[in-house]
Symmetry: C5
Subunit: 102 residues, 5 copies
Amino acid sequence: MQLAKVRGTVVSTQKEPSLRGVKLLLLQLLDENGQLLPDYEVAADSGVGAGVDEWVLVTRGSAARQVFGSSQERPVDATVVAIVDTVTVENQTLYSKKDQYR
Amino acid sequence: MQLAKVRGTVVSTQKEPSLRGVKLLLLQLLDENGQLLPDYEVAADSGVGAGVDEWVLVTRGSAARQVFGSSQERPVDATVVAIVDTVTVENQTLYSKKDQYR
Amino acid sequence: MQLAKVRGTVVSTQKEPSLRGVKLLLLQLLDENGQLLPDYEVAADSGVGAGVDEWVLVTRGSAARQVFGSSQERPVDATVVAIVDTVTVENQTLYSKKDQYR
Amino acid sequence: MQLAKVRGTVVSTQKEPSLRGVKLLLLQLLDENGQLLPDYEVAADSGVGAGVDEWVLVTRGSAARQVFGSSQERPVDATVVAIVDTVTVENQTLYSKKDQYR
Amino acid sequence: MQLAKVRGTVVSTQKEPSLRGVKLLLLQLLDENGQLLPDYEVAADSGVGAGVDEWVLVTRGSAARQVFGSSQERPVDATVVAIVDTVTVENQTLYSKKDQYR
């Protein structure tokens, strides 16, 4: 999985019927120091309810469909699967959601 | 998924039988600011009916086959799954289809 | 899918038994203007019969196995699925097989 | 698979239910000489029990779900599958866990 | 598939049980002219018995598991599927195993 920051949303009315009701978030990927990378991903929100500026984990490939139950026939290749609380590197806190919003 | 702009079409008569009747679009990928990237993708149109210059969402990998029903035996690794109406970043509108064609 | 040009062949006698009889083509990928990229792919020919110098479409990932019928147990991650007739960008012809061999 | 070094952990309470109990490690990828690359991966620990500073093998894509038994419905696209003992290149030892901790 | 050269081996005792008995080779990828690239892959040997310095074909993604029979539950994302005899580009021999070991 990759760390990413929620930047916004993508809205579409003319789309694959199976995408109806799927919220699409615009994520910007983060490097291993928490800096914004030039890479982004438009990802489904699996239901964790991530909001703008939150750090999340995005899963890609066929794993992105594992959150939709046994049918899994949605054409989604990226999904937000977690809102990040803390990232710890070499026993030092790189990111803490609590501090971010203090 | 990635944001892309429809640039044109690819036509082939000598091809895998399962690709007959599948419209192939030439997409150019967009960066997170809506600028054209040097990367492109030849993608199937799942039936959303995207036209030249429209912004679309392209899904890649095994997800690209989820639009073809239960058989899913088409050798397609990229599919257009939505025509984009709006992209919103940090509560500002980055792109609006309505404004584009005003 | 990506556009590619057939450059040659790869031959192997000591290989996975399921690869026997599968023709392996050396493809060089093309950019969106039809220029050769430094990236290549060794791909199976699904039966479209592509020859050296022809432009083809290559599909990658699990899609590459969708051409081998219901068994699909060949360890192939790239397959030529079409010989390209024309590529049209913004209503201009970027490539036409007919003109190429005139 | 790629060689990587365990750098830390990622903790999340608000996440996909199927990720409960899955330990998430922050890995930094290594190049073929054992130097840290700028690329990282947040990977599940399949149960090998890797600790900070250890060299591991990380598997990505659908392979990352093969460690979770027959259900395999976890949305994980990267998993630590081995702790590396030795890496040998051209009959010379590039890395030995024993020497590392001597 | 990509062309690669076998450079060495990776050994691990603490690993996923399903990886027991799977030989892990360190491959360095080759460009389309046969030069070593900075990219490597740790790949399973499917049984073709590749040795150090030999040119091989490596398959990646879910295709890498197609060599392990019907169970296929090994967490492997790269496998050596062939030892290369010859690579021919534009009717010229780029590589011949026979000449290499003459």
